[in-house]
Amino acid sequence: MKRYSGFSLLKNALSYHENWQKVWRNPTPKKDYDVIIVGGGGHGLATAYYLAKVHGITNVAVVEKGYLGGGNTARNTTIIRSNYLWDEAAQLYELSLKLWEGLSQELNYNVMFSQRGVLNLGHNLQDMRDIERRVNANRLNGIDGEVVTPQRIKEIAPLINISPDSRYPILGASWQPRGGTARHDAVAWGYARGADALGVDMIQQTEVIGIRRKGGAVVGVETSNGFIGARKVACVAAGSSGVVAAMAGLRLPVESRPLQALVSEPIKPCLDTVVMSNAVHGYISQSDKGDLVIGAGVDSYNGYGQRGSLHVIEHTVQAICELFPAFSRVRMNRQWGGIVDTCPDACPIISKTSVQGLYFNCGWGTGGFKATPGSGYVFADTVANDRPHPLAKAFNLDRFNTGALIDEHGAAGVAH
Protein backbone atom coordinates (compact mmCIF):
# COMPACT_ATOMS: atom_id res chain seq x y z
CA MET A 1 0.00 0.00 0.00
CA LYS A 2 1.36 3.39 -0.97
CA ARG A 3 0.96 5.74 1.98
CA TYR A 4 -0.88 9.02 1.61
CA SER A 5 1.09 12.12 2.57
CA GLY A 6 1.58 15.73 1.59
CA PHE A 7 4.47 14.56 -0.55
CA SER A 8 2.38 11.93 -2.38
CA LEU A 9 -0.21 14.60 -3.09
CA LEU A 10 2.41 16.82 -4.71
CA LYS A 11 3.96 13.94 -6.61
CA ASN A 12 0.61 12.83 -8.02
CA ALA A 13 -0.26 16.39 -8.95
CA LEU A 14 2.61 16.21 -11.46
CA SER A 15 0.78 13.44 -13.33
CA TYR A 16 -2.60 15.16 -13.06
CA HIS A 17 -3.76 12.73 -10.33
CA GLU A 18 -4.18 10.00 -12.90
CA ASN A 19 -1.75 7.50 -11.39
CA TRP A 20 -2.99 7.04 -7.85
CA GLN A 21 -2.83 3.45 -6.69
CA LYS A 22 -6.23 1.69 -6.60
CA VAL A 23 -7.57 1.93 -3.06
CA TRP A 24 -8.17 -1.83 -2.93
CA ARG A 25 -7.81 -4.76 -5.31
CA ASN A 26 -10.77 -6.45 -6.96
CA PRO A 27 -9.76 -10.12 -6.56
CA THR A 28 -11.52 -13.26 -7.73
CA PRO A 29 -12.46 -15.24 -4.61
CA LYS A 30 -10.18 -18.08 -3.48
CA LYS A 31 -11.72 -21.51 -2.89
CA ASP A 32 -11.21 -21.32 0.87
CA TYR A 33 -10.69 -18.78 3.59
CA ASP A 34 -9.94 -18.94 7.30
CA VAL A 35 -12.67 -16.39 7.92
CA ILE A 36 -15.46 -15.06 5.70
CA ILE A 37 -17.13 -11.88 6.81
CA VAL A 38 -20.68 -11.47 5.54
CA GLY A 39 -21.41 -7.77 5.00
CA GLY A 40 -19.01 -5.07 3.86
CA GLY A 41 -20.32 -2.22 5.97
CA GLY A 42 -18.15 -0.31 8.43
CA HIS A 43 -18.45 -3.00 11.10
CA GLY A 44 -17.57 -5.86 8.73
CA LEU A 45 -14.60 -3.98 7.27
CA ALA A 46 -13.34 -2.99 10.72
CA THR A 47 -13.61 -6.63 11.79
CA ALA A 48 -11.54 -7.68 8.76
CA TYR A 49 -8.93 -5.01 9.47
CA TYR A 50 -8.44 -5.97 13.13
CA LEU A 51 -8.43 -9.70 12.31
CA ALA A 52 -5.48 -9.06 10.01
CA LYS A 53 -3.77 -6.32 12.02
CA VAL A 54 -4.14 -7.50 15.61
CA HIS A 55 -4.54 -11.26 15.19
CA GLY A 56 -2.46 -11.91 12.08
CA ILE A 57 -5.37 -13.70 10.37
CA THR A 58 -5.08 -12.49 6.79
CA ASN A 59 -6.70 -15.31 4.81
CA VAL A 60 -9.98 -13.45 5.08
CA ALA A 61 -12.69 -12.37 2.63
CA VAL A 62 -15.38 -9.74 3.07
CA VAL A 63 -18.40 -10.78 0.99
CA GLU A 64 -20.73 -7.88 0.19
CA LYS A 65 -23.92 -8.10 -1.85
CA GLY A 66 -23.72 -4.51 -3.08
CA TYR A 67 -20.73 -2.21 -2.82
CA LEU A 68 -18.56 -1.59 0.23
CA GLY A 69 -20.17 0.77 2.72
CA GLY A 70 -23.39 1.13 0.72
CA GLY A 71 -25.72 0.07 3.54
CA ASN A 72 -26.31 1.95 6.76
CA THR A 73 -22.69 3.07 6.71
CA ALA A 74 -23.56 5.37 3.82
CA ARG A 75 -26.94 6.36 5.23
CA ASN A 76 -26.31 7.39 8.82
CA THR A 77 -26.01 10.83 10.36
CA THR A 78 -22.51 10.03 11.71
CA ILE A 79 -23.02 11.07 15.32
CA ILE A 80 -20.35 9.72 17.64
CA ARG A 81 -20.51 9.73 21.46
CA SER A 82 -19.98 7.29 24.31
CA ASN A 83 -22.28 8.63 27.04
CA TYR A 84 -24.36 5.47 27.51
CA LEU A 85 -25.88 4.68 30.89
CA TRP A 86 -24.84 1.15 31.82
CA ASP A 87 -21.26 0.06 32.47
CA GLU A 88 -21.27 -2.64 29.79
CA ALA A 89 -22.45 -0.32 27.02
CA ALA A 90 -20.44 2.69 28.20
CA GLN A 91 -17.21 0.68 28.16
CA LEU A 92 -17.85 -0.67 24.68
CA TYR A 93 -18.72 2.74 23.19
CA GLU A 94 -15.84 4.39 25.05
CA LEU A 95 -13.37 1.86 23.62
CA SER A 96 -14.75 2.87 20.26
CA LEU A 97 -14.40 6.59 20.94
CA LYS A 98 -10.77 6.07 21.98
CA LEU A 99 -10.12 4.23 18.72
CA TRP A 100 -11.80 7.06 16.77
CA GLU A 101 -9.37 9.49 18.37
CA GLY A 102 -6.42 7.82 16.63
CA LEU A 103 -8.15 6.35 13.60
CA SER A 104 -7.01 8.68 10.80
CA GLN A 105 -3.36 8.08 11.80
CA GLU A 106 -3.90 4.35 12.32
CA LEU A 107 -5.43 3.93 8.85
CA ASN A 108 -3.39 6.60 7.07
CA TYR A 109 -6.78 7.77 5.81
CA ASN A 110 -8.55 10.96 6.82
CA VAL A 111 -11.84 9.86 8.38
CA MET A 112 -12.56 13.52 9.20
CA PHE A 113 -13.28 12.71 12.83
CA SER A 114 -14.38 16.01 14.35
CA GLN A 115 -14.80 16.26 18.12
CA ARG A 116 -17.28 19.10 17.98
CA GLY A 117 -19.21 17.91 21.03
CA VAL A 118 -22.69 16.47 21.43
CA LEU A 119 -25.63 18.00 23.31
CA ASN A 120 -28.54 15.78 24.39
CA LEU A 121 -31.39 18.11 25.31
CA GLY A 122 -33.82 17.73 28.19
CA HIS A 123 -37.31 19.23 27.87
CA ASN A 124 -38.99 18.28 31.13
CA LEU A 125 -38.18 17.38 34.71
CA GLN A 126 -37.92 13.67 34.02
CA ASP A 127 -35.58 14.25 31.06
CA MET A 128 -33.35 16.29 33.38
CA ARG A 129 -33.35 13.62 36.08
CA ASP A 130 -32.36 11.02 33.48
CA ILE A 131 -29.64 13.31 32.15
CA GLU A 132 -28.22 13.91 35.66
CA ARG A 133 -28.19 10.20 36.30
CA ARG A 134 -26.58 9.35 32.97
CA VAL A 135 -23.87 12.02 33.26
CA ASN A 136 -23.04 10.84 36.78
CA ALA A 137 -22.83 7.26 35.56
CA ASN A 138 -20.61 8.37 32.68
CA ARG A 139 -18.21 10.20 34.97
CA LEU A 140 -17.93 7.16 37.23
CA ASN A 141 -16.90 5.27 34.09
CA GLY A 142 -14.27 7.87 33.25
CA ILE A 143 -16.28 9.30 30.36
CA ASP A 144 -16.36 13.06 29.89
CA GLY A 145 -19.71 14.71 30.44
CA GLU A 146 -21.39 17.68 32.03
CA VAL A 147 -24.93 18.77 32.74
CA VAL A 148 -25.29 22.21 31.17
CA THR A 149 -27.83 25.02 31.62
CA PRO A 150 -29.90 26.61 28.86
CA GLN A 151 -27.57 29.66 28.93
CA ARG A 152 -24.56 27.46 28.33
CA ILE A 153 -26.42 25.64 25.55
CA LYS A 154 -27.09 28.99 23.91
CA GLU A 155 -23.36 29.79 24.06
CA ILE A 156 -22.52 26.47 22.41
CA ALA A 157 -25.27 26.69 19.76
CA PRO A 158 -26.33 30.34 19.44
CA LEU A 159 -29.16 29.71 16.95
CA ILE A 160 -31.08 27.52 19.39
CA ASN A 161 -34.29 28.84 20.93
CA ILE A 162 -34.12 28.59 24.73
CA SER A 163 -37.19 30.71 25.40
CA PRO A 164 -39.19 29.17 28.27
CA ASP A 165 -42.42 29.50 26.27
CA SER A 166 -41.24 27.64 23.22
CA ARG A 167 -43.13 24.51 22.30
CA TYR A 168 -40.32 22.25 23.52
CA PRO A 169 -38.74 24.31 26.31
CA ILE A 170 -35.10 23.48 26.92
CA LEU A 171 -34.33 22.89 30.59
CA GLY A 172 -30.77 21.71 30.13
CA ALA A 173 -28.68 19.10 28.38
CA SER A 174 -25.90 16.61 28.72
CA TRP A 175 -22.73 17.78 26.97
CA GLN A 176 -20.02 15.41 25.83
CA PRO A 177 -17.20 17.53 24.39
CA ARG A 178 -15.30 14.51 23.02
CA GLY A 179 -18.29 13.43 20.93
CA GLY A 180 -18.76 14.59 17.36
CA THR A 181 -19.01 13.33 13.81
CA ALA A 182 -16.88 11.60 11.17
CA ARG A 183 -17.05 11.09 7.44
CA HIS A 184 -19.06 7.89 7.03
CA ASP A 185 -17.72 6.77 3.62
CA ALA A 186 -14.14 7.46 4.61
CA VAL A 187 -14.48 5.09 7.57
CA ALA A 188 -15.53 2.23 5.30
CA TRP A 189 -12.94 3.07 2.65
CA GLY A 190 -10.14 3.54 5.18
CA TYR A 191 -10.77 0.18 6.84
CA ALA A 192 -11.17 -1.52 3.44
CA ARG A 193 -7.88 -0.08 2.21
CA GLY A 194 -6.10 -1.04 5.41
CA ALA A 195 -7.48 -4.59 5.38
CA ASP A 196 -6.76 -5.03 1.66
CA ALA A 197 -3.15 -3.99 2.21
CA LEU A 198 -2.83 -6.76 4.80
CA GLY A 199 -4.16 -9.33 2.32
CA VAL A 200 -7.91 -9.38 2.94
CA ASP A 201 -10.03 -9.94 -0.21
CA MET A 202 -12.96 -7.60 -0.84
CA ILE A 203 -15.59 -9.56 -2.78
CA GLN A 204 -18.27 -7.12 -3.90
CA GLN A 205 -21.52 -7.66 -5.84
CA THR A 206 -21.74 -11.12 -4.27
CA GLU A 207 -24.71 -12.00 -2.11
CA VAL A 208 -24.52 -14.71 0.51
CA ILE A 209 -27.60 -16.90 -0.02
CA GLY A 210 -26.80 -19.88 2.19
CA ILE A 211 -24.57 -20.98 5.04
CA ARG A 212 -23.28 -24.51 4.52
CA ARG A 213 -22.81 -26.61 7.64
CA LYS A 214 -21.51 -30.13 8.31
CA GLY A 215 -22.01 -31.90 11.62
CA GLY A 216 -23.01 -28.72 13.44
CA ALA A 217 -20.04 -26.70 12.16
CA VAL A 218 -19.84 -24.13 9.44
CA VAL A 219 -17.92 -25.07 6.24
CA GLY A 220 -18.59 -22.09 4.00
CA VAL A 221 -21.14 -19.89 2.30
CA GLU A 222 -23.25 -20.28 -0.82
CA THR A 223 -23.19 -17.07 -2.79
CA SER A 224 -24.75 -15.68 -5.93
CA ASN A 225 -21.36 -16.49 -7.54
CA GLY A 226 -20.97 -20.01 -6.15
CA PHE A 227 -19.71 -21.71 -3.00
CA ILE A 228 -16.78 -20.33 -0.97
CA GLY A 229 -15.32 -22.46 1.80
CA ALA A 230 -14.46 -21.09 5.25
CA ARG A 231 -13.55 -22.39 8.71
CA LYS A 232 -15.33 -19.47 10.32
CA VAL A 233 -18.15 -17.22 9.13
CA ALA A 234 -18.70 -13.88 10.84
CA CYS A 235 -21.99 -12.18 9.99
CA VAL A 236 -22.20 -8.40 10.16
CA ALA A 237 -25.23 -7.77 7.97
CA ALA A 238 -27.02 -5.03 10.00
CA GLY A 239 -30.66 -4.81 8.83
CA SER A 240 -30.41 -8.16 7.01
CA SER A 241 -29.05 -10.07 10.01
CA GLY A 242 -32.29 -11.96 10.61
CA VAL A 243 -32.37 -13.09 6.99
CA VAL A 244 -28.76 -14.29 7.18
CA ALA A 245 -29.36 -16.07 10.51
CA ALA A 246 -32.27 -17.96 8.98
CA MET A 247 -29.82 -19.39 6.40
CA ALA A 248 -28.24 -21.30 9.29
CA GLY A 249 -31.57 -22.18 10.87
CA LEU A 250 -31.10 -19.61 13.65
CA ARG A 251 -33.43 -16.95 14.98
CA LEU A 252 -32.35 -13.58 16.34
CA PRO A 253 -34.27 -11.24 18.64
CA VAL A 254 -33.93 -8.39 16.13
CA GLU A 255 -36.55 -6.59 14.10
CA SER A 256 -35.67 -4.63 10.97
CA ARG A 257 -37.10 -1.14 10.73
CA PRO A 258 -36.64 1.83 8.41
CA LEU A 259 -34.76 4.80 9.84
CA GLN A 260 -34.74 8.01 7.85
CA ALA A 261 -32.51 11.03 7.49
CA LEU A 262 -32.38 14.11 5.31
CA VAL A 263 -30.00 16.89 4.34
CA SER A 264 -30.62 20.49 3.40
CA GLU A 265 -29.04 22.61 0.72
CA PRO A 266 -25.57 23.77 1.81
CA ILE A 267 -25.57 26.96 3.85
CA LYS A 268 -22.87 28.98 5.57
CA PRO A 269 -21.39 27.57 8.79
CA CYS A 270 -23.92 28.15 11.58
CA LEU A 271 -23.87 25.06 13.80
CA ASP A 272 -20.52 23.67 14.92
CA THR A 273 -21.77 21.03 17.29
CA VAL A 274 -24.29 18.17 17.36
CA VAL A 275 -27.70 18.76 18.94
CA MET A 276 -29.95 15.83 19.74
CA SER A 277 -33.29 15.50 21.44
CA ASN A 278 -34.84 12.17 22.33
CA ALA A 279 -38.16 13.71 23.23
CA VAL A 280 -38.79 15.33 19.86
CA HIS A 281 -37.15 12.56 17.80
CA GLY A 282 -34.67 14.80 16.09
CA TYR A 283 -30.95 15.42 15.86
CA ILE A 284 -28.99 17.83 13.76
CA SER A 285 -25.47 18.79 12.80
CA GLN A 286 -23.87 20.63 9.92
CA SER A 287 -21.54 18.85 7.54
CA ASP A 288 -18.26 20.36 6.34
CA LYS A 289 -19.98 20.93 2.98
CA GLY A 290 -22.54 23.10 4.76
CA ASP A 291 -25.66 20.93 4.59
CA LEU A 292 -27.71 20.46 7.71
CA VAL A 293 -27.80 16.75 8.44
CA ILE A 294 -31.04 15.79 10.18
CA GLY A 295 -32.04 12.42 11.49
CA ALA A 296 -35.54 11.25 12.31
CA GLY A 297 -37.11 8.68 14.57
CA VAL A 298 -37.48 5.09 13.47
CA ASP A 299 -40.62 4.08 11.55
CA SER A 300 -42.87 1.95 13.70
CA TYR A 301 -43.33 -0.94 11.30
CA ASN A 302 -40.92 -3.68 10.18
CA GLY A 303 -39.51 -3.11 6.74
CA TYR A 304 -36.64 -3.89 4.40
CA GLY A 305 -37.50 -1.26 1.78
CA GLN A 306 -34.81 1.32 2.71
CA ARG A 307 -37.50 3.98 2.90
CA GLY A 308 -40.08 5.04 5.43
CA SER A 309 -43.18 7.20 5.76
CA LEU A 310 -43.20 10.93 5.15
CA HIS A 311 -45.02 11.84 8.36
CA VAL A 312 -42.03 10.59 10.37
CA ILE A 313 -39.62 13.10 8.88
CA GLU A 314 -42.31 15.77 8.87
CA HIS A 315 -42.57 15.35 12.62
CA THR A 316 -38.80 15.64 12.99
CA VAL A 317 -38.52 18.73 10.82
CA GLN A 318 -41.35 20.41 12.73
CA ALA A 319 -39.42 19.87 15.95
CA ILE A 320 -36.13 21.07 14.44
CA CYS A 321 -37.86 24.28 13.31
CA GLU A 322 -39.15 24.82 16.83
CA LEU A 323 -35.66 24.36 18.27
CA PHE A 324 -33.96 26.40 15.53
CA PRO A 325 -36.51 28.88 14.15
CA ALA A 326 -33.88 30.23 11.73
CA PHE A 327 -33.86 26.91 9.88
CA SER A 328 -37.49 27.21 8.84
CA ARG A 329 -36.37 28.84 5.57
CA VAL A 330 -33.78 26.23 4.67
CA ARG A 331 -34.74 23.96 1.80
CA MET A 332 -34.27 20.22 2.08
CA ASN A 333 -32.26 18.54 -0.61
CA ARG A 334 -32.39 14.77 -0.22
CA GLN A 335 -34.04 12.23 2.05
CA TRP A 336 -33.44 8.50 2.42
CA GLY A 337 -33.85 5.51 4.69
CA GLY A 338 -31.73 2.67 5.94
CA ILE A 339 -32.77 -0.61 7.52
CA VAL A 340 -31.73 -0.86 11.14
CA ASP A 341 -31.71 -4.06 13.20
CA THR A 342 -33.33 -3.15 16.49
CA CYS A 343 -32.88 -5.27 19.60
CA PRO A 344 -35.35 -5.47 22.53
CA ASP A 345 -32.84 -3.80 24.90
CA ALA A 346 -31.40 -1.31 22.38
CA CYS A 347 -28.01 -3.01 22.69
CA PRO A 348 -26.04 -5.02 20.15
CA ILE A 349 -25.46 -8.77 19.91
CA ILE A 350 -21.79 -9.78 19.60
CA SER A 351 -21.83 -13.49 19.96
CA LYS A 352 -20.91 -17.05 19.12
CA THR A 353 -23.88 -19.17 18.09
CA SER A 354 -25.00 -22.78 18.48
CA VAL A 355 -23.33 -23.49 15.12
CA GLN A 356 -19.57 -24.05 15.54
CA GLY A 357 -17.59 -21.39 13.68
CA LEU A 358 -20.57 -19.09 13.10
CA TYR A 359 -20.60 -15.67 14.76
CA PHE A 360 -22.97 -12.72 14.72
CA ASN A 361 -22.41 -9.03 15.29
CA CYS A 362 -25.71 -7.20 14.88
CA GLY A 363 -28.55 -5.45 16.65
CA TRP A 364 -26.80 -2.06 16.65
CA GLY A 365 -30.11 -0.60 15.58
CA THR A 366 -30.22 3.15 15.22
CA GLY A 367 -26.82 3.84 16.75
CA GLY A 368 -24.00 1.64 15.52
CA PHE A 369 -21.94 4.02 13.42
CA LYS A 370 -20.22 5.46 16.48
CA ALA A 371 -19.29 1.93 17.49
CA THR A 372 -17.68 0.95 14.19
CA PRO A 373 -14.03 0.77 15.42
CA GLY A 374 -14.83 -0.81 18.80
CA SER A 375 -17.33 -3.25 17.34
CA GLY A 376 -14.79 -4.46 14.78
CA TYR A 377 -12.09 -4.65 17.44
CA VAL A 378 -13.98 -6.82 19.94
CA PHE A 379 -15.63 -8.92 17.24
CA ALA A 380 -12.31 -9.72 15.55
CA ASP A 381 -10.99 -10.82 18.95
CA THR A 382 -14.11 -12.93 19.56
CA VAL A 383 -13.82 -14.64 16.16
CA ALA A 384 -10.04 -15.12 16.32
CA ASN A 385 -10.13 -16.74 19.78
CA ASP A 386 -13.54 -18.42 19.55
CA ARG A 387 -14.62 -16.89 22.86
CA PRO A 388 -16.17 -13.53 23.69
CA HIS A 389 -13.81 -10.56 24.11
CA PRO A 390 -14.16 -9.38 27.74
CA LEU A 391 -16.11 -6.30 26.60
CA ALA A 392 -18.34 -8.43 24.34
CA LYS A 393 -19.30 -10.97 26.98
CA ALA A 394 -22.34 -9.06 28.23
CA PHE A 395 -23.60 -8.75 24.64
CA ASN A 396 -23.93 -12.49 24.20
CA LEU A 397 -27.03 -13.90 22.55
CA ASP A 398 -27.87 -15.88 25.69
CA ARG A 399 -28.75 -12.71 27.61
CA PHE A 400 -32.26 -13.02 26.21
CA ASN A 401 -32.59 -16.40 27.90
CA THR A 402 -30.99 -15.44 31.20
CA GLY A 403 -32.76 -12.08 31.36
CA ALA A 404 -29.51 -10.12 31.78
CA LEU A 405 -30.63 -7.42 29.36
CA ILE A 406 -28.76 -4.11 29.17
CA ASP A 407 -31.52 -1.57 28.86
CA GLU A 408 -30.13 1.37 26.92
CA HIS A 409 -33.46 2.73 25.67
CA GLY A 410 -32.81 5.89 27.62
CA ALA A 411 -29.39 6.63 26.18
CA ALA A 412 -29.93 5.03 22.78
CA GLY A 413 -33.68 5.38 22.27
CA VAL A 414 -34.41 7.12 19.06
CA ALA A 415 -31.35 9.26 19.32
CA HIS A 416 -28.02 7.89 18.21
Binding site: G242, S256, N302, G303, G305, L310, H311, T402
Partner: protein, 96 residues
Protein backbone atom coordinates in the same frame (compact mmCIF):
# COMPACT_ATOMS: atom_id res chain seq x y z
CA UNK B 1 -47.42 7.25 4.30
CA UNK B 2 -49.43 4.04 4.24
CA UNK B 3 -53.15 4.01 3.57
CA UNK B 4 -54.63 1.32 5.77
CA UNK B 5 -58.06 -0.26 5.44
CA UNK B 6 -59.60 -0.72 8.88
CA UNK B 7 -61.79 -3.85 8.85
CA UNK B 8 -63.90 -2.38 11.65
CA UNK B 9 -64.46 1.10 10.21
CA UNK B 10 -64.60 -0.33 6.66
CA UNK B 11 -62.58 2.60 5.38
CA UNK B 12 -59.08 3.44 4.18
CA UNK B 13 -57.43 5.84 6.64
CA UNK B 14 -53.98 7.42 6.85
CA UNK B 15 -51.18 5.67 8.69
CA UNK B 16 -50.96 8.43 11.29
CA UNK B 17 -54.30 7.27 12.75
CA UNK B 18 -52.83 3.88 13.53
CA UNK B 19 -50.10 2.44 15.63
CA UNK B 20 -48.13 -0.65 14.84
CA UNK B 21 -48.55 -3.64 17.12
CA UNK B 22 -45.87 -6.07 15.92
CA UNK B 23 -46.13 -9.67 14.75
CA UNK B 24 -49.65 -11.14 14.86
CA UNK B 25 -50.86 -14.60 15.88
CA UNK B 26 -48.54 -14.95 18.89
CA UNK B 27 -50.47 -16.69 21.63
CA UNK B 28 -49.42 -16.04 25.20
CA UNK B 29 -48.33 -19.39 26.66
CA UNK B 30 -51.10 -20.70 28.87
CA UNK B 31 -48.70 -22.13 31.38
CA UNK B 32 -45.61 -19.88 31.61
CA UNK B 33 -44.13 -21.63 34.64
CA UNK B 34 -43.93 -24.87 32.64
CA UNK B 35 -41.71 -23.27 29.99
CA UNK B 36 -37.93 -23.40 29.81
CA UNK B 37 -36.01 -20.09 29.80
CA UNK B 38 -35.42 -20.56 26.07
CA UNK B 39 -39.14 -21.04 25.35
CA UNK B 40 -40.06 -18.01 27.44
CA UNK B 41 -37.37 -15.89 25.73
CA UNK B 42 -38.71 -17.07 22.40
CA UNK B 43 -42.18 -15.86 23.31
CA UNK B 44 -40.93 -12.52 24.67
CA UNK B 45 -38.18 -11.51 22.27
CA UNK B 46 -37.83 -13.61 19.13
CA UNK B 47 -39.90 -12.53 16.15
CA UNK B 48 -40.10 -13.81 12.57
CA UNK B 49 -39.00 -10.48 11.08
CA UNK B 50 -39.33 -11.83 7.52
CA UNK B 51 -38.22 -10.14 4.35
CA UNK B 52 -41.50 -10.49 2.45
CA UNK B 53 -44.96 -11.45 3.69
CA UNK B 54 -45.65 -10.48 7.31
CA UNK B 55 -48.80 -10.87 9.40
CA UNK B 56 -48.90 -8.04 11.88
CA UNK B 57 -51.17 -6.20 14.31
CA UNK B 58 -52.29 -2.62 13.89
CA UNK B 59 -54.29 -0.52 16.32
CA UNK B 60 -56.70 2.11 15.01
CA UNK B 61 -55.67 4.52 17.77
CA UNK B 62 -57.35 7.69 16.47
CA UNK B 63 -60.40 5.90 15.09
CA UNK B 64 -62.38 2.99 16.40
CA UNK B 65 -59.58 2.15 18.87
CA UNK B 66 -59.65 -1.51 17.98
CA UNK B 67 -56.93 -3.94 16.98
CA UNK B 68 -56.90 -5.83 13.71
CA UNK B 69 -54.36 -7.75 11.64
CA UNK B 70 -52.77 -6.97 8.31
CA UNK B 71 -50.79 -8.97 5.77
CA UNK B 72 -48.07 -6.71 4.44
CA UNK B 73 -45.05 -7.12 2.20
CA UNK B 74 -42.08 -5.81 4.19
CA UNK B 75 -40.07 -5.00 1.06
CA UNK B 76 -42.66 -3.10 -1.00
CA UNK B 77 -44.75 -2.18 2.10
CA UNK B 78 -47.89 -3.11 0.13
CA UNK B 79 -50.76 -4.10 2.40
CA UNK B 80 -52.33 -7.17 0.82
CA UNK B 81 -55.25 -7.56 3.20
CA UNK B 82 -56.51 -6.60 6.63
CA UNK B 83 -58.61 -8.92 8.78
CA UNK B 84 -60.16 -9.11 12.20
CA UNK B 85 -58.38 -10.57 15.19
CA UNK B 86 -59.49 -14.18 15.63
CA UNK B 87 -59.70 -14.82 11.90
CA UNK B 88 -56.99 -16.23 9.65
CA UNK B 89 -55.23 -14.46 6.76
CA UNK B 90 -56.23 -15.32 3.18
CA UNK B 91 -52.74 -14.61 1.89
CA UNK B 92 -49.67 -16.34 3.29
CA UNK B 93 -45.97 -16.40 2.42
CA UNK B 94 -46.57 -19.51 0.34
CA UNK B 95 -48.86 -17.58 -2.05
CA UNK B 96 -46.33 -14.92 -3.03
Amino acid sequence: MLLIYCPHCLEHREEEEFSYGGEAHIARPLNPEALSDEQWADYLFFRKNPRGIHHEMWYHAIGCRRYFNATRNTVTYEILETYKVGTQPQITGADV
